[in-house]
Symmetry: C2
Subunit: 347 residues, 2 copies
């Protein structure tokens, strides 16, 4: 049976190159960081060796997720938080997976320039303590959450103190991405009547802090009231009642209070191993996803290449083969170390 070891079979030739790349990104070389992220995001053959090499240098950064409906002003809020942390001399990286975000919509370079302009306004150049990256919203099912987690890990290894992860809180994917954060902010705005309702599905579960942005608008009290009502229904017995913070990201109003709430939440999270427990849960889901993908990789190497799958799929689509029976047979053969071709002829 072919070895399923992660790095040895596919990347042994790349190892010195990978070490040098990781060394350089750890020394703060932006080009090395960007290249490592691209390799990881595209699941290049070197990806896992890079991640493995980055892993020992992670675990210290605080990962903050920012999620909410489109139009809630998440990007502006992220912008403000970046400025806040940079003023405190903390290094920051942003990963945006929000299809409605101007960061994600444009080219990666475009984003970075936009961000840089904000930060270097009045100064002479770009800020080496800040780095931003957009993620594509494509990819295989579940692949986006995994890729985001990987990108965040490389960012962490580059020595960032704070990683901000911006996403739209609608689909399951986005909730899964929010879960990779240590602290998740759920951003709401007044006047979007069905906002809380529409986010309800997963939102009470993932919110560590509620942010009411655009709180200069009418209806702020009502939104807060709705949050409190939902909280009293859902989390009466919860150990942590998420604070509600009002902001107006466009003017910067409330950002200090938000940062204070984040700091307080972080303190609570770090107490009594709560952060460790959350990270363990995150790693458990990630481990499962990694294992699933590794097993499929093995399957592809062992006769279940694209064309073979397509052939099976065409048989199923035309009613010639039962997919459940077929999958049972394929799995059985794979696990017995045989190639799928050695399966008895379907039906």
């Amino acid at each position: 049976m072919e070895s399923a070891t992660y790095t040895d079979d596919t990347t042994s030739g790349h190892l010195p190159e990978i070490r040098s790349l990781v060394d350089r990104l750890r020394q703060g070389e932006v080009r090395a960081l960007s290249r490592a992220i691209s390799l990881v995001e595209n699941d290049a053959p070197q990806a896992r060796a890079i991640l493995s090499a980055c892993f020992p240098f992670t675990g210290r950064a605080l990962r903050i997720g920012i999620t909410g409906a489109p139009g809630a002003g998440k990007s502006t809020l992220v912008d403000r938080l970046v400025r806040h942390y940079r003023t405190l001399r903390r290094t920051v990286a942003v990963v945006a997976i929000d299809p409605t975000s101007p960061f994600t919509g444009g080219a990666i370079l475009g984003d970075r320039i936009r961000f840089q302009e904000h930060l270097s306004a009045g100064s002479s150049g770009s800020d080496p303590g800040f780095y931003a990256r957009s993620m594509a919203t494509r990819g295989s099912l579940g692949g986006l959450a995994l890729a985001t987690a990987d990108v965040a890990l490389v960012m962490e290894a580059s020595g960032r103190d704070v990683i901000l992860i911006e996403t739209v809180g609608v689909g399951q994917d986005e909730i899964e991405i929010a879960r990779l954060a240590d602290i998740t902010l759920v951003v709401l705005v007044p006047g979007m009547g069905d906002d809380i309702q529409s986010l309800k599905a997963g939102v009470m579960e993932i919110a560590d802090i509620f942010v009411i942005n655009k709180s200069d608008r009418e209806g702020t009290d009502r939104v807060e009231q709705e949050i409190r009502t939902l909280q009293s229904l859902v989390s009466a017995s919860a150990a942590w009642t998420p604070p509600v913070v009002r902001t107006t990201a466009t003017t910067g109003e409330g950002i200090d209070a938000l940062a204070a709430a984040i700091a307080e939440t972080e303190k609570w999270m770090r107490g009594e191993d709560r952060l460790a427990e959350r990270r363990a849960r995150h790693w458990q889901r990630r481990l499962e996803a990694m294992l699933r993908s590794e097993l499929m990789r093995h399957a592809r190497r062992n006769g279940l290449a694209e064309e073979k799958l397509h052939e099976y799929a065409a048989r199923i689509a035309s009613g010639q083969d039962d997919p459940w029976k077929l999958v049972g047979r394929l799995a059985e053969n794979l696990l017995a170390g045989e190639t799928p071709d050695s399966a008895p002829n379907p039906k």
Copy 2:
């Protein structure tokens, strides 16, 4: 090595019961249909045997996906399409996976009553030719698309002519769900400025028909213009240029034109094996997902139970173990028929 065969090991005791259930749902018994769907949705031990028993009775229904931003009026549109097809005496089932849909928000029973009321207004009772079901938006990554496909399959086996699948076109999950349809309608509305922009990511790829709903509002021409512009950029060489249909679902305006566009698209899809090819592509993705999940099922039975994964995850979270090396070892052992416990001690 334990057998990985799908039905034999876990459900042999259930088989007569399952056959009876599928017989009854095929005869139009709503309670049997509901029960089968629940078992399948919850991935009960009998689920795969039920799906396998339903499979031979599928392939004839037309599956129409309806996707678009929250507030685009998708539910009302679905409602109108249901009435349209019922008037033509075609049987219909709806599966709604839209977290902002009133159908999904409420209880399943609530939905069905709401739907039934619409349909039986003025008549004496409920309509046996119509069935609606909501899906929860929870579940494991990628699980929702798979579960929706399974539910649609059971609905098909119950002899429905048309399956409508309503979803919010934002996340990757939703795009994946839209892909299980034969024909996908993308619903837009005028006046939601960034609508097309925000949907852009996957939308041009999945749209077979564009619907501009609420087209009595100002800005309809502009939305259509934007669609045409995007089309000219993206799909100049495409074999099919998705038609653009204007509707006002609240009044029923444009529904006949929409149904005509659907019929024309269906005719084109059925020509030259285009439908068969699309369904084969769908089955290929589904087959992969099924195989992934079957391999994980095997892993869980062979020492990678929840607690074990949690133990590994805690080690990773505290930096004691490298996840990439660990996954490589776990996969190798699983595929060699050993339990993960026989792995050499990490590090």
